[in-house]
C-alpha cells in the first residue's frame, strides 16, 4: 500500500461522523478502476459517465475483456473498485465473482447488469458484490452515490482493520499478559505474553473461563473486582496472585478496564497482568542485605566501643606516667614518647566520634578568646619548635561544649602551625554575623591542592603531600563532626599558594 492510500484511509476514517460526506472527502488521490466487459461500447459509456462524475483527470480506468485478463490485471495492480459485467459473453460474471472472493482480492465490486435483472442483483449482492447498476440507467449522479457509499465503507473497513492490526501487534509485542473477557469471565483474547506467563496457549484458553488462572483464595477478590468493572470502573491490584498451568502461584500486578459498546454499556473487560516476581525477588534481596548491613553496623559500633574504651585505659596510664616523668626529666625520648601517646589518644577520640559514642556534652556560652589562649598554651612547645607567630583578634562569645570546642580549635590551630610557612604565621580572627559566630584560622602555608580540599575532612585521608607524618588523619574529621553536633560547621573557606583559611561557625549565645 502506498502512503497516499493510507492517507486516504485515515481521511475517510475521520469523515465517518459527517452527515453528508462528499466524494472529495473520501478520495484524495486518483482512483483506479477496472472494468471487466467484453462490449467496447459499454466500456465507452462507463468512461463517459466517470468523466462526468470525477472529471477525466480524477480516475484511471483499466479494461479487461475476460476473466483471465481481469485476474492478471488484479494480480499486478490494486483497484479501488471493479466494475463487472454480469453477462461476460460465454461465461457468467457470477463465476468470476465467486472466484474473486475465494482469492485474496479485496476490491469492492459493482455489478453492471442489463435491464430488469433484480434477481440477478440480489444474487450478486449475496455473492459479495458491493452494489449493482443497470447499464441503461447509468448516469453520473447514480454512479457518484454508489462510489461514495462503497468507498466510504471500504475505507472504514480498512481503518478498522488497521486499528485491530495495531492493537493485535501491541498485544503481541507486550511483555504483559493482555486478556479480554466477557462479563462472565469467558476469555475472548489471549496474547503471546499470557501464553508465556500462564503456560496455556490462546487456542486452549479462548472460550474458557478466566477463573482458571485465579487461585482459590483470590476468587472472592476477583468476583468483587469484576463487579466493580461491570459498573464501569477501572480496577488495579498492585499485588495479587495468579495460577500457572503447572499449578505454580505467581505474584502479579493487575489492571482491569471495562470494555464499552457504542451505547456505553459494559460488555466485557480487558485485563493487563504484569509479572512482579522479579521485582519482589529484588525487594527481598534488598531487605536481606539491609538486615545484614544493620547487623554489620551494630557489630562495628560494638567493636568501635570496645576499641575506644579498652584502649583508652592503657593509653591514659601511659600518658599520666609520661607526664609524671616529664616533670622531672627533660629527656627528648620522654617528650617523643609523650607526643606519640598524644597522637594515639587523638586517634581514639576519632574512633569514638566515628562510633557515635562521644555526644556533644552540655553546651553553654563560651569565651572563645579564653579557649584560644588555652589552646595556644597547650601548643606552646610545637609553636616554639617552629618559631610560629600568632595574631589573635577580638573573638565573640559563642555557644558550645567547652571540651569539644577546645578540641576543634586545637586541631585547626595545630594544623596551621604544622602546615604553615617557615616560620608559620597564624591569624585567628572572629566576627558575629546573623546569629552565627565565625572564627577564622589563617595560615601562611603553601595552600591545599584541589584534589585534597574535600578529602582532608574524611577519616584517615591525610594527603602524603603534607610531608609531615605526625598527624593522625582524623583531626579535621573529628573537628567537623564535633562542630556539626553542636549546630555548627568547620570548612576550608579559602586556599591559595599564599595560605589557607579554615572557618569554624558556631551559634551565638
Amino acid at each position: 500500500m502506498t502512503a497516499a492510500r493510507s492517507g486516504q484511509v485515515d481521511r475517510a476514517g475521520e469523515s465517518q461522523n459527517e452527515v453528508a460526506p462528499h466524494l472529495e472527502d473520501v478520495i484524495k488521490s486518483k482512483l483506479r478502476f477496472l472494468v471487466v466487459e467484453d462490449e467496447p461500447g459499454d466500456v465507452s459509456i462507463l468512461r463517459s459517465v466517470l468523466d462526468k462524475a470525477l472529471g477525466s483527470e480524477g480516475y484511471q480506468l483499466d479494461a479487461a475483456q475476460d476473466r483471465r485478463a481481469a485476474r492478471a490485471a488484479m494480480e499486478t495492480n490494486r483497484f479501488d473498485v471493479v466494475f463487472l459485467d454480469y453477462d461476460l459473453g460465454s461465461e457468467s460474471g457470477f463465476v468470476f465473482l465467486r472466484d474473486l472472493h475465494k482469492g485474496d482480492f479485496s476490491a469492492p465490486v459493482i455489478i453492471l447488469t442489463g435491464k430488469g435483472a433484480e434477481e440477478i442483483a440480489v444474487e450478486a449482492l449475496r455473492l459479495g458484490a458491493s452494489d449493482y447498476l443497470t447499464k441503461a440507467e447509468l448516469d453520473a449522479s447514480t454512479l457518484t452515490r454508489s462510489l461514495l457509499r462503497i468507498l466510504t465503507v471500504a475505507s472504514l473497513r480498512r481503518a478498522q482493520y488497521m486499528a485491530e492490526a495495531r492493537l493485535a501487534a501491541a498485544a503481541r509485542g507486550s511483555q504483559d499478559a493482555i486478556v479480554t473477557k466477557d462479563l462472565s469471565g469467558n476469555i475472548l483474547s489471549w496474547n503471546l505474553a499470557a501464553q508465556h506467563m500462564f503456560g496455556w496457549s490462546a487456542e486452549e484458553m479462548l472460550g474458557k473461563n478466566i477463573t482458571k488462572i485465579v487461585p482459590a483464595d483470590k476468587q472472592e477478590e476477583w468476583e468483587q473486582l469484576m463487579a466493580d468493572v461491570a459498573r464501569g470502573y477501572t480496577v488495579s491490584k498492585p499485588r495479587t496472585k495468579r495460577r500457572k498451568r503447572d499449578g505454580a502461584i505467581i505474584d502479579v500486578q493487575l489492571t482491569v478496564n471495562p470494555i464499552l459498546d457504542n451505547d456505553g454499556v459494559v460488555v466485557g473487560a480487558v485485563g493487563v497482568t504484569h509479572d512482579i516476581g522479579p521485582m519482589i525477588a529484588l525487594e527481598q534481596g534488598l531487605a536481606t542485605r539491609q538486615q545484614q548491613l544493620e547487623i554489620d553496623n551494630l557489630l562495628l559500633k560494638e567493636f568501635g566501643h570496645v576499641v575506644a574504651h579498652d584502649l583508652r585505659e592503657p593509653v591514659r596510664a601511659l600518658m599520666v606516667r609520661l607526664d609524671h616523668l616529664s616533670q622531672t626529666s627533660d629527656d627528648v625520648d620522654v617528650r617523643e614518647a609523650m607526643a606519640a601517646a598524644t597522637r594515639l589518644r587523638t586517634m581514639l577520640d576519632g574512633f569514638e566520634v566515628m562510633a557515635g559514642l562521644q555526644q556533644a556534652g552540655e553546651v553553654r556560652e563560651l569565651d572563645i578568646a579564653e579557649i584560644v589562649q588555652d589552646v595556644l598554651d597547650g601548643l606552646s612547645q610545637q609553636a616554639a619548635a617552629r618559631g610560629a607567630e600568632f595574631e589573635v583578634g577580638a573573638l565573640p562569645h559563642m555557644w558550645g561544649d567547652p571540651a569539644q570546642v577546645y578540641t576543634i580549635l586545637q586541631n585547626l590551630i595545630g594544623n596551621a602551625i604544622k602546615y604553615g610557612g617557615d616560620p608559620p604565621r597564624v591569624a585567628v580572627t572572629g566576627r558575629a554575623a546573623g546569629g552565627v559566630g565565625e572564627i577564622r584560622i589563617r595560615d601562611n602555608g603553601g595552600g591545599i591542592p584541589a584534589p585534597y580540599r574535600e578529602r582532608i575532612f574524611q577519616p584517615f585521608q591525610r594527603g602524603a603531600h603534607f610531608g609531615d607524618a605526625s598527624g593522625t588523619g582524623l583531626g579535621l574529621f573529628v573537628a567537623s563532626v564535633m562542630a556539626l553536633r553542636q549546630g555548627g560547621h568547620v570548612r576550608l573557606e579559602e586556599t591559595s599558594p599564599e595560605g589557607s583559611t579554615f572557618l569554624l561557625e558556631l551559634p551565638l549565645p
Partner: protein, 125 residues
C-alpha cells in the same frame, strides 16, 4: 572517709598520690563495696568515688544499692570514668550523682579531680 571503688590498680595509685589523705578506703569491685555497705551501713562515708565500668557489678548499679540503703540516700557520690553514654548520664542524674568526671590524661588533670573531690566532701560536712 572517702570510698574509692576502682578495679584498675594504676588509678588507685593515682588517687593515693593526688588526694594525699589518710582516710581513703579502696574497694576492688562493686561487690566488695556492697558487702561492706551491708555489714557496716553508710555511717562515716563522706564521699563515694566509683568507676562506672567495673569487672562485675557496674558503678551505676552500686550507686543504686547505696541509695536504697538506709542513710545512703544523701551520701555524695561521684563517677570518675571514661565518658558515659547519654543514657548512662541520664541514669546518673536520676540517682543524684554529684558529678560525672572524665578520667584525665595528665597529672594536672588528676590534681584538679582531687580538688573537686575534696570540695565535694567539704560541701557534705
Amino acid at each position: 572517709m572517702i570510698w574509692i571503688v576502682e578495679d584498675n590498680s594504676f588509678d588507685r595509685d593515682i588517687y593515693e598520690m593526688v588526694l594525699a589523705i589518710d582516710d581513703i578506703v579502696y574497694f576492688h569491685s562493686g561487690e566488695a563495696a556492697w558487702e561492706s555497705l551491708q555489714e557496716h551501713g553508710c555511717a562515716g562515708i563522706d564521699l563515694v568515688v566509683t568507676d562506672d565500668r567495673l569487672a562485675g557489678m557496674m558503678g551505676l548499679e552500686l550507686i543504686g544499692k547505696i541509695r536504697a540503703t538506709p542513710g545512703g540516700e544523701r551520701v555524695p557520690v561521684c563517677i570518675v570514668a571514661a565518658p558515659l553514654s547519654p543514657e548512662d548520664r541520664a541514669k546518673a542524674r536520676g540517682l543524684g550523682v554529684a558529678a560525672v568526671l572524665e578520667k584525665p590524661y595528665t597529672l594536672a588533670g588528676w590534681e584538679s579531680i582531687a580538688d573537686r573531690l575534696l570540695e565535694l566532701r567539704r560541701s557534705h560536712d
